[in-house]
């Protein structure tokens, strides 16, 4: 694969990757874009390690998720620790004006989930990834992925019933 072909592939994958990171970062699109740039540069430099056992997008998502976890660790927060509502609001206040109040429902619905649960939920419902792909991206065993999804499902159902989305 040439450099240009790699850039073309990245151009196709950048949107879902940035969307996933943006949702993980609580709507902070500039932080998400910084993480996406970091992840894609890492992918460019380590492309030789890509063995083709998973899809290219899965490999990119894995690098991006690792970058996100590293940034959380650097900020002194464990990725498995649930985000509190106050922290969620604080995160949102750092987001740029255009994205600050957009998609609040999604962030509010997932506010009491741990970051691992959030990641699993976003990958499953937002990015339509399979359990196997989620296992490859997050490194969480498939059984744990299923239990995270089950918990997230309960939370989302409860949230939807309490809000305008109630069926």
């Amino acid at each position: 694969m040439t450099r240009e072909q790699f850039i073309e592939l990245v151009a196709q994958e950048q949107k879902p990757l940035r969307r996933f990171l943006c949702a993980l970062c609580g709507g902070d699109s500039s932080m998400a874009d910084d993480l996406a740039q970091e992840a894609l540069l890492k992918a460019y430099l380590s492309f030789g390690k890509f063995e083709g056992r998973s899809r290219f997008s899965t490999w990119l998502f894995r690098i991006a998720y690792n970058c996100f976890c590293d940034s959380r660790k650097a900020a002194g927060k464990c990725p498995t620790e649930p985000i509190t509502f106050a922290e969620e609001q604080r995160a949102d206040s750092t987001a740029d004006a255009s994205s600050r109040f957009s998609h609040q429902d999604l962030y509010l619905a997932m506010e009491r989930l741990s970051e691992a649960e959030k990641a699993v939920t976003l990958l499953f419902y937002m990015e339509d990834k399979s359990i196997r792909d989620i296992e490859a991206i997050t490194g969480i065993p498939s059984g744990t992925v299923r239990s995270h999804l089950s918990r997230a499902r309960q939370h989302l159902r409860k949230y939807m019933e309490e809000t305008k989305y109630g069926i």
Binding site: R3, I7, L40, L41, Y44, F47
Partner: protein
């Protein structure tokens, strides 16, 4: 109660929609322009790499052969010069050869040791010079 389909619809309806994809990719392109091209993207097939290795081996072989020929030629020339000097001295002073022969036979032990020491010293200097560039 919300179904699986409703949850998926809710997430998709509320998901963030990143903008400025072109600007993002331009920035990415600018960043990777500053980085070296990884070997995995250098457009070189395994055949190209093999042929480059073969060409390198061939060049190294040619250099070795040339050095060997030069070394043999220098040795032959120095022996010829030595013999010519010995012959010249012998023709001028016949008795000098006899005396030189007697001297060599009486001091042969010292001559052999000196010769071995000189050869060892020269080879060590040569080895040191050849490895200093690595």
């Amino acid at each position: 109660m919300a179904s699986e389909k409703d949850i998926r619809h809710f997430v998709k309806h509320n998901m963030p929609r990143p903008e400025n994809g072109t600007a993002f990719m331009e920035e990415y392109r600018r960043s990777i322009d500053l980085l070296p091209v990884p070997s995995s993207m250098s457009c070189r097939s395994p055949e190209d790499i093999d042929s480059s290795i073969a060409a390198l081996k061939k060049a190294a072989g040619t250099l070795k052969k040339r050095s060997r020929i030069t070394a043999v030629a220098v040795t032959l020339v120095s022996i010829a010069v030595l013999l010519w000097i010995a012959a010249a001295i012998g023709s001028l002073h016949h008795d000098l050869l006899t005396r030189a022969g007697a001297f060599i036979s009486s001091h042969r032990f010292f001559i052999i040791v000196t010769f071995a020491a000189v050869v060892t010293a020269l080879s060590m200097i040569a080895a040191k010079k050849s490895t200093s560039g690595i």
